[in-house]
Homo-oligomer: 276 residues x 2
Amino acid sequence: MQTVSENACFGGVQGVYSHASEACGCDMTFGLYLPPAAKDGPVPVLWYLSGLTCTHENAMTKAAAQGFAAEAGMAVVFPDTSPRGADVADDDAYDLGKGAGFYVNATQEPWAPHFRMWDYVSTELPALLGTEFAVDLGRQAITGHSMGGHGALTLAMAHPGRFASVSAFAPIANPMQSDWGRKQLSAYLGDDESTWAKHDATVQMEAVGFDGPLLVDQGGSDQFLYLLKPEALAQAMAARRQDGVFRMQKGYDHSYFFVATFIPDHIAFHANALGL
Amino acid sequence: MQTVSENACFGGVQGVYSHASEACGCDMTFGLYLPPAAKDGPVPVLWYLSGLTCTHENAMTKAAAQGFAAEAGMAVVFPDTSPRGADVADDDAYDLGKGAGFYVNATQEPWAPHFRMWDYVSTELPALLGTEFAVDLGRQAITGHSMGGHGALTLAMAHPGRFASVSAFAPIANPMQSDWGRKQLSAYLGDDESTWAKHDATVQMEAVGFDGPLLVDQGGSDQFLYLLKPEALAQAMAARRQDGVFRMQKGYDHSYFFVATFIPDHIAFHANALGL
């Protein structure tokens, strides 16, 4: 693992690191914010999964999470959204290939050799964090924005017992019924839709739900509402009697100004679930 | 004036606007955050002047000022750092020409026709804000980062009675004695150094000081300390008995992670001076 940069931030350290990823078969870069409390021992960790076109950097510089994480005493990890490098397959569209990993393990060509973000985020990167940094893998929570909200919800429901809480900002909530989903799941996983179900938050909410508290914020003026399909997730949450809150935030769009506005609430929500 | 974008943010609006600038002889773009309180009438306004290579956008997306401004009930304006456009002179160096206006009125060729950021920030843009938005020009404060800290300090001292308070993050504190200063002041203003003095915060602190409270934060691990020369300003502040605080922040560098860490303190400082 190499240190790309480390900046003092709210008494802790905002770092950027790179490492050779076995899951993705390429070098991967991630951001990690360690709060001041990490100097005294391992701290709980919040995963922040980013959306289409993002790298590890967008949320790290625009979501304004660090001050609240410092106060709460939790680390925040910002993974990249896809494999990277000259020999990694790509597509001209912004919503397929690099920057659009969709948090799945691809089984189809040309994606299968590198696009294994599910394994990367759920297995390889946690192990690395536990080895290299003062983070307590016994206390994890997860959030994300848009495609990252999709990733957070599906990973949380697939790993009962791992995450104390899950939240999402404007998640792609029902990808099997959306052009943000059908195109990518078909390309990465093939035409057998039974393999897609694990990667649809609404389907998983209907099937299993989440074993802890859940918070979803959705902007009421989000320009991508027709692709996100929050109504499907809201319905499924209510039908399951999921411990959770779905908030439609009037006037907010899909931008990081929306994320930054509500990140204090999300950090406080996860801090509470993590016993901080 | 044209609206480039408006995003809901902390109950208010983060807008970006463009207009034909008479001072700069080109179209200029600026960001303006209006807090929720602006719906009920004019609010005080904090100027945030940005540093070398920045546009109106950097601080707007990375400084995390909006939440604290919303709470305090103040607007924040984010001007660009230079004139823009194909017919505006430029230089290959990052620290001269576009993105490096240094908040002066250039008198030398090829800069004189457009590089009039002093007039733009001190006269033209305030008038536009007062006409177009719910801001109270009777209650202004000013801050900035690096070259913008230089601009904030020199503008504040040159306009007694206008700003209730001034603050700066890692300002270029003594440009007449720095390679971040001598090169630009010479290019924009010519070789007569008597014309430079108005644009050196340390010289102005020695000459006149500021008629209100002043706050300076400087990172102790700033990679540009040798160019910023904070020791000159600290000495001048103390020698004048300036109402003010100079804080050396151990371990912090020159990045926006430093700015974001201390922006809550700066907003609170200005809110107090503005009677909020």
